[in-house]
């Protein structure tokens, strides 16, 4: 597959540990934020989303936190597994279009 993550920040975690991936966004008018996971050779896959009127949302093993004061978004993955290894992107919804961040590589060590 392609190596789209060559110049991206990398987070390495031990299997079973929790992972925290951070993202800064730019537009105060963004009303919706989404985290995507992208595995090598595949398109982005939806993980979890959060509206701007919320500061926390939980899914299965994942939690998204939104801090509008500092325009910061984070994705927490509990009990990280080898299958979580991928590139993770945050995206903000601006006027019906998604604008993506550069991404973070997550590597899980067994």
């Amino acid at each position: 597959g392609e190596n789209v993550g060559l110049h991206l920040p990398t987070l390495s975690v031990q299997e079973g540990d929790n992972s925290i991936i951070n993202c800064a966004y730019s537009n105060s008018a963004s009303d919706y934020f989404i985290w995507y996971k992208q595995e090598s050779g595949k398109g982005p896959q939806f993980i979890i989303d959060i509206r701007s009127n919320m500061d926390k949302r939980q899914g299965q093993r994942v939690t998204v936190l939104l801090n509008k004061t500092v325009k910061h978004l984070s994705l927490q993955i509990a009990a990280t597994q080898p299958g979580d290894s991928a590139v993770y992107f945050c995206a903000e919804n601006i006027q019906l279009k998604l604008v993506f961040g550069a991404g973070t590589i997550l590597r899980v060590k067994s």
Binding site: V4, I34, G41, Q45
Partner: protein, 112 residues
């Protein structure tokens, strides 16, 4: 990727040639999008369409043309390919609400 299909999966073309990337979705989603993905840039929006015969430019539209004569198809054409257009191209569609975005598997385009 069931429901949204991109073709071809891989394409090598020469500088100056015209090339068309295809995108087909089976859900009758109103919105369709084309993104390109390059090292260190995440995904950047090229063009999008809100419905058949309605298209609009995204962040990086120069050198590209789109059309949407049918709801289910959204082809992307590079009229005269350049090496800077070497990239991975993703098509996406959604109905209501941005959480409904679904991406295709991508087309890896190399311009030599």
């Amino acid at each position: 990727d069931a429901g949204i299909t991109q073709s071809p999966r891989y394409k090598i073309t020469e500088t100056g040639r015209q090339v068309t990337l295809m995108c087909h979705q089976t859900w009758s989603h109103s919105y369709m999008f084309w993104y390109r993905q390059d090292l260190g840039h995440g995904l950047r929006l090229i063009y999008y369409s809100a419905a058949a015969d309605i298209t609009d430019k995204g962040e990086v539209p120069d050198g590209y043309v789109v059309s949407r004569s049918k709801t289910e198809n959204f082809p992307l054409t590079l009229e005269s390919a350049t090496r800077s257009q070497t990239s991975v191209y993703f098509c996406a569609s959604r109905e209501t609400g941005p959480s409904g975005y679904t991406f295709g598997s991508g087309t890896r385009l190399t311009v030599v």
